[in-house]
């Protein structure tokens, strides 16, 4: 079983927790750069990427992948239905696709959506994930006000100590989570839409004591459909 990842063209963060890092996944991974694909800034940009992504998705399918994802979530979910219909394996373009099941696990609680730019997640994105904010109570927060997160976005690196970027990233993310909790005491879980955040999400879980679901949790679930022995060892 192999996870296939369609990668944007350009330098990507190779930090554990990010799509491009080998340490992130406990199963085999096949990455394929989509030539000419730049980070989309609008729905029109995403539409323009569709033919490139369809070709690359079919190429990965021929190589025998079990599940397909891509490394720039956000607006790419607008292609979810068309990509998923074009290949025979499960396709995951956003962690927001699991919001309905998380909601049903805690129907009396609000779900906190974490994004880089909070204005980038909205009803159109939710609808592409099969749900609506009119049915599921959410609150949205982001790290766009954090200097540390902009530095990570720009450099795509988290240097080891004594560099202070990692504690700053974690501290700023936890501050965002706390603020959302203060504003919405009924918040029961976070779903993290941004693929840059997983390197810091375990710190968020440990600090706030609430579950945090991100793209890695959803990919692990999708992959377990192929491999989940009755006596699990490492995975």
């Amino acid at each position: 079983m192999t996870l296939g990842i369609l990668m944007l063209d350009g330098k990507m963060a190779e930090v554990p927790g990010c799509m491009a890092a080998a340490a992130t996944f406990p199963y085999p991974v096949l990455r394929r750069v989509v030539p000419g694909a730049r980070p989309p800034a609008s729905a029109a940009d995403v539409e323009a990427l569709l033919p490139l992504y369809l070709d690359a998705a079919r190429a990965l399918e021929k190589e025998g992948i079990s599940v397909l994802t891509e490394n720039c979530n956000g607006l790419m979910v607008l292609l979810q239905d068309r990509l998923a219909a074009a290949v025979s394996v499960p396709v995951v373009t956003s962690a927001l696709l699991m919001v309905p099941q998380i909601h049903r696990m805690m129907p009396a609680r609000r779900i906190g959506i974490l994004a880089f730019h909070p204005e980038s997640v909205h009803e159109q994105v939710y609808n592409a994930c099969g749900w609506s904010e009119h049915q599921i109570p959410v609150a949205v927060g982001g790290v766009a006000g954090s200097e540390a997160w902009h530095e990570f976005l720009r450099t795509k690196e988290i240097p080891p100590p004594p560099d202070t970027l990692r504690p700053r990233l974690e501290g700023d993310l936890i501050a965002v989570g706390r603020k959302m909790l203060d504003a919405h005491p009924d918040l029961g879980a976070f779903v993290c839409e941004c693929t840059l955040m997983p390197p810091a999400n375990q710190a968020l879980r440990d600090a706030l004591g609430l579950p945090v679901y991100d793209i890695l949790n959803l990919l692990d679930l999708a992959m377990r459909g192929l491999f989940r022995p009755a006596t699990p060892q490492a995975f």
């Binding site: 679930l221 006596t231 060892q233």
Partner: protein, 243 residues
């Protein structure tokens, strides 16, 4: 930095003998994280939805006790309890998972709108009522339903709650025959979801034969639990208990 100790999964257990087979809820080997089991006092295997609903107060009380003890998520080992998913889940603050059917709508999107094959024990016991309790309808999501209720081996397992090696071979063969029959009738099935908590004992053998993903209560519980622990560096396994 010290790794915080991991909060366990809480399992609400019916009174009586339960299958202690790997893949089943009562078995230690089934879960790669700590587990707390709580027998719901006064409960007994419900024979009807009405009997299951009558036990709701007992389950709510037991779920609140588990929550006070600090569990990360709560499940139950009885399929009919899933009819009360919403009512039970609304009474605690942690995720509650009473059925693998909860993931069907999300999974339906991951497989591009293809048909979902639902696996159960007795097909007559699963229908729109169960789907609705899990938040969806078969009017919106195309499904196929198959079960092992006619299989002698599975009825033996249900009665004895044990799987000696020769029975395992027959259980796997009979389950595989059901799955292959569903695929022959519905070639558009994109993934299977097992509603029954006895089937996981044999599902990995099925996965390896058919090459399609098969989700069950264990994959759903692994997801729920991973919300509190999923390290970014997973070379040791994302669900491996922290030392």
């Amino acid at each position: 930095m010290a790794t915080p100790s991991r909060a366990p999964l809480g399992i609400l257990m019916l009174e009586g003998k339960m299958a202690d087979v790997p893949g089943c809820m009562a078995c230690e080997a089934t879960f790669p994280y700590p587990v707390v089991r709580r027998v719901v006092r006064g409960s007994r295997t419900p024979l009807s939805a009405e009997e299951a609903w009558a036990m709701l107060p007992l389950y709510i009380e037991a779920a609140r006790e588990l929550e006070r003890e600090g569990v990360a998520a709560i499940t139950a080992n009885c399929g009919l309890i899933a009819l009360m998913q919403k009512e039970l889940a609304a009474t605690v603050h942690v995720p509650v998972v009473t059925s693998a059917l909860l993931m069907v709508p999300d999974l339906h999107r991951l497989v591009g709108g293809r048909r979902i094959g639902i696996l159960t024990f007795f097909t007559h016991a699963v229908g729109e009522r169960n789907y609705n309790a899990s938040g969806w309808s078969s009017d919106d999501i195309p499904i196929a339903l198959g079960g092992v209720g006619d299989s002698e081996s599975w009825n033996t397992f249900l009665r004895t709650k044990e799987v000696p090696p020769e029975l395992r071979t027959q259980l796997t063969a009979d389950l595989l025959a059901v799955v292959r029959g569903m695929l022959a009738e519905h070639p558009d099935i994109g993934a299977f979801v097992s509603e029954c908590t006895m089937l996981p004992a044999c599902l990995q053998a099925v996965r390896e034969e058919i090459g399609l993903p098969v989700y069950d209560i264990l994959t759903q519980l692994d997801l729920a639990m991973s919300g509190s622990f999923r390290p970014a560096d997973s070379r040791g396994g994302p669900l491996k208990a922290a030392a």
